[in-house]
Symmetry: C2
Subunit: 483 residues, 2 copies
């Protein structure tokens, strides 16, 4: 059982800081005990604490206390402490009731916990966007962490924008991919999620346009930031309806388009070159900014020259990427590439809202890139995911009933299986659950009544034979429902 | 020089996912090249990439390309790639100009960079709130990081609320200090700054009351979250004017009081027991929530039983603390203690805005606490800071001119020196700068015209003899200015 907190008195006066005499101390304590009616049994500060605080000798405090005991105001309980004594006329102050909590916003439409922590592999989890943990280079990453935590690298302070050598390394890699940027343009973020947060907190516009269906955590974040969302429909089987997009943009005049042009989550769709060009042209015409989320473009063989809005539209396009899926989710490192106009403001928002990232994590990631581990890892990962992708396509072709179809993203970690509209996905999900197969329904990702009726398959997460078994079970249940 | 990105085509149709024939591929490419007028010299996807994406043999793609070359639509440049050929009638699409950046909020009143990164010890930096890096247990912390980064501990996923063993350990320590909490109530945050951010994003009220002068990063954060701030004046030499506070609260009805009852930054003031009790009583009467920032209470000898609002007001009081100052600023770990009503919503906000913390950092801190290193460190730190505090008081008493005064916090890392109103602090600062001594002016921390005229002395940051030299120089300049 903890002892009660001691009473805190106010000792300052016009000569605050100077040494107080015994009489002054006695006066202050007498006066405050009388004025504030502290309950009988309230604890006085120990001699050593009060002497330390006031910068005077313990002897002066001790003599003051002795005098107050002699005056009957205090009682000494040996080895326990000094307490307010019970005088006849004094009453206890009323017991403080538990105070109310502050009133918070309604958050029921958001998940209580990140699913991440509860992710289970007991069942066949078909819809994960994660990469199989067995394919992640934990041992090499741990080696870099150990190296970065050697004393000379365990820095006291940190750079709010992000560890400079890491920013320099990222700039070099981006330039190699045709994306113009230097270290001053880049901000290291807590995953790509913080990057989206910084931009949505930073823009003046109250209207953000995004894909429909949306990356669901992006949608929630825009909602959290109280922006109005405009839906830009994505049909991965027909491509973008550019007339419809243009009309929606012209009518609503969003200040920002938040887009995932490569391997869109959840559909796996990638924008065509023509679509990218239209969007860049419209940004002049309708004066919107662009936030490009390029989370997946390097989970693809030979991906160096994949088109991106930033590469074609210049530094005005804000670009984000992350190491979460490709390297290690629990590392929580992403980055935002801005430009001389916007980066300083976004750094200020980062600095004010969270100060910065753990410096040793940034230093470890720098080492991982600098030693060349990341490129070797990506190459191995790409090779393995290519095999899993081909296997996934083969199994789908062999098993899925006519009337179903699926996207062929060619990269990323997931594709979209579309089933006929008359199939109730909730029924399918329940039937699959009974057989140990889990699919995620993405109704929440739609900003308008859903125009798609399907689900994600994450071919990167499961070993090929487990994925095959999962798809076979889906196909069997679909066959039955489609009879 | 990077190669240009390849053209991205749209291949899907009603049987998307099934194998495409050579003729289907040719049709799609012909049609899209004609429709979209891609510039001459645009690069086609390499055979291997297109074959991989569509899940068909390279041979089919190769034959399709050969046919298109034969048709004069494409040109093969050996060892470079396949490109759109120049037909007479085609024109280049217009070159995309650099697109505009999104428009951001005005952020000029905030610092461009965290000062942290630029902190220099070349001069005598008198106003730092940091603890001398030489007193921080970097070596033991590095050992815990190395241990936590061993492969079995380098987890793939993470808990959005924070690593459970760390939350359990913190709950145990809080209970020992009389603060009721269990692991479910606690959220690990990116420093205490993210904790303040979560609460200010989560509350429905648009009005937040805070101390004046304020902890400046808290004030900026409340501003960033577009809340109206109400000033509650702190005069560290007179204590709180309770009538004035009550009137301000009654008139403005804030939804939250954000308070630092122990070792308030920048004044070093600690609330009296009577003041704490009034605030807790008002919270019922005026229905406000309380966010208690207890950053400094364990930077004090014998601090276990220091009064806190949470301990006396119950779980409705939201409580935050941090390891930044006391353990290592670059670790970036803080925590928020809520309750069953508010914690789930705050976890959702954390999860949506940043997903979570780097798991290995949380695991390393858990080890540091669990091995007992932290308590040993705190004890050593407290002993050294006690000595530095006494030294600081002694030097002030010996050197400062009559008419100056200073607070005696008895803990934390800083105290406030108040000089006569006729002294222009800007002039003092310039004179000190010439002599290599740096003081921070805190005009920005005031929400109303400043009622104090002074500056912080951080006695924890500098070695005693350097601090002494710094104070002596301040005293000399003050003497001159006061003649």
């Amino acid at each position: 059982m903890a002892r009660q907190p001691y009473l805190q008195f106010h000792f300052s006066d016009e000569t605050a800081g100077r040494s107080m005499s015994m009489d002054q101390i006695i006066d202050v304590i007498r006066q405050q005990i009388h004025t504030y009616n502290f309950p009988i049994g309230s604890r006085l500060p120990p001699v050593r604490i009060l002497a330390h605080q006031l910068g005077i000798s313990r002897n002066v405090v001790h003599r003051a206390y002795t005098e107050l005991i002699a005056q009957g105001l205090l009682e000494n309980h040996p080895r326990v402490g000094l307490f307010v004594a019970p005088p006849q006329e004094r009453v206890s102050v009323k017991k403080i009731r538990d105070v109310p909590s502050p009133t918070l916003i309604n958050s029921e439409s958001w998940p209580t916990q990140s699913r991440d922590a509860k992710h289970s592999r007991l069942n066949i989890s078909l819809s994960s966007v994660f990469v199989d943990p067995a394919l992640l280079p934990k041992e090499r990453l741990a080696a870099c962490l150990r190296s970065a935590s050697q004393q000379q690298h365990l820095r006291t302070l940190y750079d709010a924008q992000g560890f400079l050598p890491l920013r320099q390394k990222l700039a070099e890699r981006l330039n190699h991919r045709g994306i113009t940027a230097d270290a001053e343009d880049i901000i290291i973020t807590l995953g790509s999620q913080q990057a989206v947060d910084l931009v949505s907190r930073g823009i003046t516009s109250q209207v953000v346009a995004m894909e429909n269906p949306a990356y669901i955590r992006g949608k929630w974040l825009i909602e959290l930031n109280r922006k109005k969302t405009i839906a830009l429909p994505v049909d991965p089987f027909k491509g973008l309806n550019l007339d419809d997009w243009q009309q929606r943009i012209a009518n609503t005049r969003p200040g920002l388009l938040y887009l995932t042009p490569n391997f869109h989550n959840p559909t796996g769709y990638s924008y065509t070159t023509n679509e990218l060009q239209h969007i860049l042209e419209w940004s002049h015409q309708y004066e919107f900014g662009i936030l490009e989320d390029d989370w997946g473009s390097d989970i693809l063989s030979f991906s160096d020259f994949r088109p991106s809005l930033r590469a074609q539209g210049g530094p005005g396009v804000l670009y984000i990427n992350s190491f979460s899926i490709k390297l290690l989710p629990s590392l929580r490192v992403g980055y935002l590439v801005g430009n001389r106009d916007v980066t300083p403001t976004l750094v200020r928002i980062k600095s004010i809202s969270s100060m910065g990232m753990p410096a040793v994590i940034e230093a470890a990631l720098f080492e991982f890139l600098d030693r060349g581990y990341y490129d070797v890892h990506l190459k191995q990962l790409q090779g393995e995911l290519d095999r899993r992708y081909q296997n996934c396509l083969n199994v789908l072709r062999q098993t899925m009933p006519a009337g179903t179809r699926w996207t062929t993203p060619g990269g990323g970690s997931q594709l979209w299986v579309e089933v006929p509209k008359r199939i109730d996905l909730n029924i399918l999900q329940k039937k699959l659950e009974k057989r140990g197969v889990q699919i995620d329904l993405t109704y929440d990702a739609f900003l308008e009544p859903p125009h798609l009726n399907g689900f994600r398959i994450g071919y990167a997460y499961l070993e090929p034979d487990i994925l095959q078994r999962g798809i076979e079970i889906v196909a069997e249940e679909l066959h039955r429902l489609m009879i």
